[in-house]
């Protein structure tokens, strides 16, 4: 009886030690910072930052090859969050990348749509539904308002409409403290 308990304990202990050793020895050093940056980005995949999506922008930020003020959909709050994470100074949004606007959603004028599927190919989040020579429509819930579908449309039947605030979508505005966007606020704090 006692031998059985001891033998199993030794076996289990040995296995535990082996696994513990393996966990340390074979630890995978992924690049967790890219994932953390990506989590702060708005995931519109709009490409306004000059990179082909949010993840590539996050990679470039992690590698120090991009500025933190290139993401218009993220707005002031997004830049602030990136500055905090990366320990860089916050700066105003680069106007070359675009301006901050309220959240938009694309609407297809279904009377005019000729079913060319060009906008479907342009959509980075697969929010447009349709088939060749059949009318297309936008899944409003999935649309990030990135406007990438507007340029390829040959009949200009896509319009960007601001999303109306309803009881279910309204959020408290983020508190912006005076001096928050100033470069030297961190030194003062």
């Amino acid at each position: 009886m006692l031998t059985a308990i001891i033998a199993l304990s030794v076996l289990a202990g040995g296995c535990g030690l082996l696994l513990g050793f393996a966990a340390v020895r074979f630890r995978v050093d992924g690049d967790p910072i890219v994932a953390r940056i990506d989590a702060l980005l708005p995931q519109t995949q709009c490409g306004q930052c000059g990179f082909p999506g949010c993840w590539p922008y996050a990679e470039a930020l992690a590698a120090g090859q991009a500025e933190i003020n290139q993401c218009p959909p993220g707005g002031e709050a997004g830049i602030q969050a990136l500055a905090d994470l990366l320990g860089r100074d916050p700066k105003p949004l680069n106007p070359d990348n675009g301006t901050v606007r309220s959240k938009m959603v694309a609407i297809i004028d279904e009377q005019t749509c000729i079913g060319c599927t060009l906008c479907i190919q342009a959509c980075p989040v697969d929010a447009i539904l349709g088939a060749p020579k059949l009318m297309h429509t936008v899944i409003a819930k999935e649309c990030t308002g990135c406007e990438l579908c507007m340029a390829p449309c040959p009949v200009d039947c896509i319009n960007m409409v601001p999303v109306k605030e309803t009881l279910s979508t309204w959020k408290w505005p983020c508190p912006v403290l005076p001096g928050d966007a100033l470069p030297d606020h961190r030194a003062a704090a």
Binding site: T3, A4, A7, L8, L11, A12, C15, L18, L19, A22, A23, F26, R27, V28
Partner: protein, 193 residues
């Protein structure tokens, strides 16, 4: 040499673990819907089964048997298999990210594959040596993978076939498995010939 070849043929064809011994049926039904997942599962199982049958043999031979604790085999083997699976996952994750992506979720799933425990216990029952144990595990895994891939291929075709309403889904899959099992019973003739 002849004996080892016999072990391989026996485990892959004649005593196939899935369709003749009916072990490891959960992954057989669970991950055989698509050919790619079946291949991933087969690969992962082959890897783990070979390794774990050898480890189980070593545990039995050098820990349980000398102390007269053979009655603890089942629980000790479960422990060893779980550790082998975990360890393999860590090593693969570190050394080969590509392989890790291919095996993916299937690697941890193998812990609960009854064929793995079955092979370890049968090895002891058949009094296989070190090399024979490894071969037995490998053969069993190859047989398992082969059946899984064949069955996935069948199911992919059945998915688009016009199956009568009441036979759709699990029913036709089980009937197909039964027919496959019948077909594999034919290999019993190999042993006599």
């Amino acid at each position: 040499m002849k004996e080892y070849a016999l072990i391989l043929i026996s485990t892959i064809l004649v005593n196939n673990f899935v369709v003749v011994k009916f072990l490891g049926l959960c992954p057989f039904m669970g991950v055989s819907r698509k050919l790619e997942t079946a291949m991933g599962m087969g690969l992962a199982t082959t890897f783990v089964l070979t390794l774990s049958s050898v480890c189980a043999y070593l545990t039995n031979e050098y820990l349980l048997a000398p102390l007269g604790l053979e009655y603890l085999r089942t629980i000790a083997f479960i422990l060893v298999i779980a550790v082998v699976v975990q360890f393999t996952e860590m090593v693969v994750h570190k050394t080969s990210p590509v392989l890790y992506q291919v095996l993916g979720i299937f690697l941890p799933l193998i812990t609960t594959n009854c064929a793995v425990l079955g092979v370890a216990l049968l090895n002891i029952q058949e009094k296989n040596g070190f090399l024979a144990s490894g071969l037995y595990g490998f053969g069993a895994a190859v047989g398992f993978s082969m059946i899984l891939v064949l069955f996935a291929a069948l199911r992919e075709r059945i998915a688009v076939a016009d199956v009568p309403l009441h036979f759709r889904g699990a029913a036709i899959a089980l009937i197909t498995a039964g027919l496959m099992s019948l077909a594999f019973m034919g290999f019993v003739g190999l042993a006599r010939g």
